[in-house]
């Protein structure tokens, strides 16, 4: 399932990574942020929207380690960030899509405004297709359900495919095999 998803998602321009533990994933994210020049200056911030992944993680310590990383996702911090991190609930192999309940505005801001969007998801959340996910999501409970398939794109000028018009220019998907119960 994972391999199928990876092929499809990469086919639409997403970057896909997989880690066994939450710790390994966290190491990857920290290195990624540093490599992308996350710093305490507008347009170099990174915002991380709260979700189950962060349960039990000392966010203050993380912020200290990476200046410019904030867990306070607001309109302004998100707009000034280069990187946004949010979580997804499902991944679909047939189209390489992520599905997320983004009723919380922080999830949307982190996934929409920054140039790079990192999406975190458990490897056990992969489903075959839309039909499978539609039976598991409930719009009455989730007011803003987002399907995200690759980065933002347009072909409005001379039909030339161009990545990153209004939304993220890069979508980095991080799968974690053992997302529950592992401490850092």
């Amino acid at each position: 399932m994972y391999e199928q998803f990876k092929v499809r998602a990469e086919g639409v321009g997403a970057e896909v990574h997989r880690f066994r533990t939450r710790g390994e994933a966290l190491d990857f994210i920290c290195t990624f942020l540093q490599q992308e020049g996350t710093a305490d200056a507008p347009q170099s911030y990174a915002v991380w929207a709260a979700g189950p992944f962060l349960t039990g993680i000392d966010t203050a310590q993380l912020s200290g380690k990476i200046p410019g990383l904030s867990f306070n996702v607001s309109r302004q911090t998100a707009a000034d960030s280069k990187i946004g991190i949010s979580e997804a609930d499902w991944a679909l192999t047939d189209t390489g899509s992520l599905v997320a309940d983004q009723t919380a505005v922080e999830q949307r801001l982190a996934a929409t405004l920054p140039a790079i969007h990192i999406a975190l998801i458990g490897t056990d959340r992969i489903l075959p297709d839309k039909a499978a996910v539609f039976s598991r999501i409930n719009p009455r409970a989730s007011r803003y359900i987002a399907f995200i398939t690759g980065p933002s794109r347009t072909a409005d000028i001379e039909r030339v495919l161009t990545i990153g018009v209004h939304g993220p220019k890069r979508l980095v998907i991080v799968f974690i095999d053992e997302i529950e119960g592992v401490t850092v």
Binding site: S97, R108, T149, S152, H166, G167
Partner: protein, 711 residues
Amino acid sequence: MKSAFKQSIDKAINDANLTGALGKFSEAYKVNRARAYEGIDFELLRTVIAERKSYAASNLDLMAAEFTRNAEAAGARVFQTDDPEKVKEYILKVARDNFVKTVVKSKSMATEEIHLNAYLEKAGIKVGETDLGEWIIQLAGQTPSHMVMPAIHMTKEEVSELFSKEVNERLSTDIPRLVEVARKELRSKFLAADMGITGGNIAVAETGSIVLVTNEGNARMVTTLPKIHIALVGIEKFVEKFADAIPILTALPRSATAQLLTSYVSIITGPSPNTDGSTKELHIILMDNRRTEMANDPKFKQALQCIRCGSCLNVCPVFRLVGGHVFGKIYTGGIGTILTAWFDELKKSEEIQGLCIQCGNCKEICPSKIDIPELIMEIRRRLVQKEGLPLLHKAIYSVVNNRRLFHGMLRAASLAGKPFASGKFLRHLPLFLADLTDGRSLPAIAAEPFRDRFKKIKQPKLNEKAVFYAGCLIDFAYPEMGEALVKILNKAGIEVIFPEEQTCCGAPARYSGAYEVAARNAIDNIKALLSEEVQYVVSACPTCTVALSHEFISTFESLGQKEWLPKAKELAGKTVDFSTLVKKLVDDGRLSLNDRRKLGKVTYHDSCHLKRTLQVSSQPRELLSKAGYELAEMFECDMCCGMGGSYSIKLPEISAPILQRKLQNIKETGAPVVAMDCPGCVMQIRGGIDQDGADIRVRHTVELLAEQLED
């Protein structure tokens, strides 16, 4: 002096950027779309969509009530109206109540339909389109030329010019750089806007949800950053169940842009939190604007199944030449013609409905299973009913309904055409008729029509008999095709009967909306063709075959005439096209073709009615192979040749470039012979080849096969 409409066609056809961009796109689209649908049962998928959308269209009141109840329960405010003016007033009131100064919009055809932007701007509210294509045309002060790709007609140079002016900086024509400029410019507009306006691709009654399908991410910003969100939704967007969205989300991106899924799909149910912790004000406007009336019309109800993918534009041989602006300001292409007739007014569709050449490409590809060509025919019929026929047409049809007079005039034309004929063609016609021979020579009317020649053919007396329906072109222009057919059927042991009273099949009248005329032609033909007890009525003209097997019936049904229906059905049951019958005769061992000779390459042109209405495409190819030809397929073999019956006479400026494309594709195969099953296509393509000067034989399959009969 040409009409404004004809002028707009000339302008579009001479716009190399437009025709170049659309031409390339339509060629790539066909391939990419097919790839996107790999592994999907398209027929099944569109049957489900058509069924679910049709159900919603049949129960609009119920859908609206349930949607409203559920959306309101989730905290949305729902406003329903049939009046576009009330929509605009409502939006302005919400804006005024909230001191809105700026609005950002994501792409919405419904807002274009009611000219919302101009209305709000006039009231002093700044409206910014945020879809890149929509923003480009907003800056240019234009209207969209394509439902999905609004700025497809513009070049990067033009876009660079517009953006340079907007940001006060000399920009290059580098596309990624231009997109970056748009990102930066519009980002500040998103963050500053007081209100966001969207359309809705799907409205789910069961949950009160709005589904938005986008690629750029602008709809996510429009629905997230401003504190007020207004969604304007045409009530044709309803589906009953949440799960009904699945087939639509499967088809829409594949059909629209050949994607498996767009970058973003947002399902919004009631208001969500704003960035300052308050709750969003979500207004959903359900707009009728004659959609209920449409749902109550038994013919046009199916148009409400449309999911606005625009694929009918992408496969249309006419659209790819003229683009959207010729169709008007909002909805364009095949479905656009229908929507304009309803949402605007029937009268406005008067000229644009004539753009349809009735090739059937759009019907074959529509993911909502809408019979677009048939609905355009119905518009024609109603226009004629309402406005009457132009005087010239009236005169012509009064002749067509009188067989003796009609055939007498065709015989006279054979003599009258002489001064302009050289060999088998009319090369030049004088005065206003000159356009008819522009890029294409017309066949001279035969000195002796088939009906006269038939009497001289010595047929063996055979037990089995078949009636031959020649149609006007074979009878009066290409009698040799009729003779070839008699020769082949005789060889298979079938004697041919040619009832003298047969006349025009009525297609020209029908395609002009003159159904009464077509019905009288139908009655005359039914009487003539059923006068003998035979198993088959065979025709070598697909347009005539379709008339005999489908359209006599539908013409009577459209007119509510029941008297001749049973006979029309009897005739339809006996009617068969030439290639299908001959293939059967060969398969049954009653006819053998000489396959020992190598005849070299032939390329085959699929005629619209044969391929898409009669679903016949392999039979003629197999017969030509059996006769010793090597098939070399041309690019776009089943694309219309531009003939379209009287289309090439009414809109020669469109017919001619379509023909040129076809000639190019034929020539590129290197085949010295091009075969087809339709005398109309022969007339168009042979005339084109004649003026082009290429050394290519243009033949009806019947002629090529008759040459290869086993002795």
